[in-house]
């Protein structure tokens, strides 16, 4: 075995020290979970060990794992579709006067007020059980997040840059693509980050009420069969997915690519 050089050891120790807070937080959560599991019993509140075993069952069975992929696909599809519809609606409202009134007075307030459960029940009638219903529920609920962020984002973009570009060309599409859109990327990014965590929860509701596949449907099935540990395991997997996306994928992308052109504060 090679001896660890003092410099390397110090770096390793510092990394461990840096992780200390995170480890303690996770440890407290697991202990609380364990305590509740003991107090309430495994059929009502399965403890961490039982849940981990159930997660293992899901991950080792391809027939079960595919439901994670289905939910993930529906969520991504719903979020992308919401982004696209919101971009068209907001740009339309910003640059086309007659639509602006309708957008601000009717479309946007209505979108915000519609309850997702009602939407899910109606979507079952319109689209039947399946992906269409789940994506529809996500779109209706996530759309206002994008719309408000994009609308406000358009208000604060640097108008002098748009003016500079408008002297170079009268082509609005080119100005949108090369000047306005890049300025909106940070706004779109933060909306997407928020939308994903909301959309996963909505996918679960949508699948629970209106689908025959996906994690939500599996939660429903497990609950029907009184397998509380499996309900916990599916929920645990969903939480892991959201945490991974938010704290690793989005945060890393943000740090590495998104703000590299900004002056460090």
């Amino acid at each position: 075995m090679f001896p660890i050089r003092p410099g390397k050891r110090r770096a390793w120790l510092q990394a461990v020290k840096g992780m200390r807070g995170l480890v303690i937080s996770y440890a407290i959560t697991v202990l609380l979970w364990y305590g509740l599991g003991l107090r309430m019993g495994p059929d009502i509140f399965p403890g961490p060990l039982r849940t981990v075993v159930a997660v293992g069952k899901i991950l080792s069975n391809a027939n079960l794992t595919k439901h994670v992929g289905i939910t993930f696909g529906r969520t991504v599809g719903g979020v992308i579709l919401s982004m696209f519809i919101a971009a068209v609606a907001v740009l339309g409202a910003r640059y086309w006067g007659p639509f602006r009134y309708y957008f601000l007075r009717v479309f946007y307030p209505a979108m915000r007020a519609i309850p997702p459960v009602a939407v899910a029940l109606l979507a079952i009638v319109w689209f039947g059980l399946g992906t269409g219903t789940v994506i529809f529920v996500i779109v209706i609920t996530v759309l206002p997040i994008y719309m408000i962020d994009l609308w406000e984002g358009l208000k604060v973009i640097d108008a002098t840059l748009v003016e500079m570009a408008s002297v170079l060309t009268s082509n609005r599409t080119r100005i949108l693509k090369k000047v306005v859109f890049p300025m909106l990327v940070p706004v779109l990014f933060s909306s997407t980050k928020l939308s994903f965590s909301v959309a996963f929860k909505l996918a679960l509701i949508g699948e629970l009420l209106g689908a025959t596949s996906g994690m939500g449907f599996m939660v429903y099935l497990s609950q029907q069969e009184y397998k509380t540990d499996m309900v916990f395991a599916w929920t645990f997997l969903l939480v892991l997915l959201v945490v991974f996306l938010e704290f690793y994928f989005f945060d890393l992308t943000e740090r590495k690519y998104l703000y590299k052109w900004q002056t460090p504060k």
């Binding site: 003016e163 002297v167 170079l168 060309t169 080119r174 090369k178 890049p182 052109w261 900004q262």
Partner: protein, 251 residues
């Protein structure tokens, strides 16, 4: 040839430009000079198609700015007071941006090569890959200049490009650079400033504007050889004459 014909502009009840007429010959360096807030920038914005005049017209080589908008636009480039660089693009990408917007038919390689040549011309080739935030104010203003130059448009409109720069280190240097580049390119330049020294150092002709409503107070021809020496007697006399038009309150 640029012909400004009986131009008028008002904002609400405020008459900013009133019956303004002048001509600028091809390859001439003309400075629009006047006190702050007299409407110089409004005139430049009308010339740049960012504002519409209420009266009169601007005609460039027979092309009316209001009726043949696109053709007119293709003849001008603008150097802004603040550099207006895209912060997510490097220096060279900010220069190619002008070509991407106005001449999308130009290939990426061609645009890059033209941008590099222009950066070389303004002395920034070594900083081509730098982002605007990594450059000094003077350097950013050079990219602003390069972005206008790369278009090879007939007319360059410059809106107080030196006003935000440090007097000692950057202003003099860029003023020399503009004079040198004008001699190389011989573009028609309309330069807006409220600095007498910039006007005398750079221009063939200075159009002195009165305060609101802006009318043409006097035309001063600067017949000095280049490069100019601002401490020469003639340069000082021209400068003093212009200052005296405003009671010595400007300069």
């Amino acid at each position: 040839m640029i012909e400004v014909r009986q131009l008028g502009k008002r904002f609400g009840s405020l008459q900013v430009l009133d019956n303004l007429s002048f001509k600028v010959a091809q390859g001439e360096f003309v400075t629009i000079f006047g006190p702050s807030g007299c409407g110089k920038t409004t005139l430049l914005r009308i010339l740049a198609t960012l504002e519409q005049p209420d009266e009169g017209a601007i005609v460039v080589d027979g092309v009316d700015g209001s009726s043949r908008h696109e053709e007119y636009k293709g003849k001008i480039s603008v150097v802004w007071q603040d550099p207006r660089l895209l912060p997510w693009r490097t220096a060279v990408q900010n220069v190619t941006f002008a070509l991407e917007m106005r001449h999308p038919e130009v290939s990426k390689e061609e645009a890059r090569s033209r941008a590099n040549e222009t950066l070389k011309l303004v002395g920034l080739m070594d900083f081509a890959g730098h982002l605007p935030r990594q450059l000094s104010g003077g350097m950013r203003q050079r990219i602003n200049l390069a972005r206008a130059l790369v278009l090879d448009a007939d007319i360059m409109l410059m809106d107080e490009p030196l006003s935000n720069l440090n007097e000692i280190t950057e202003k003099r240097q860029l003023m020399n650079e503009i004079a040198r580049l004008w001699e190389v390119k011989r573009k028609t330049v309309i330069y807006v400033t409220h600095s007498v020294s910039e006007a005398v150092y750079l221009s063939d002709r200075i159009l002195v504007f009165s305060d609101k409503p802006t009318t043409l107070l006097e035309e001063v021809r600067v017949s000095l050889s280049r490069p100019r020496n601002l401490t020469s007697r003639t340069a000082e006399e021209i400068g003093n004459h212009i200052s005296e038009l405003f009671g010595g309150m400007i300069g």
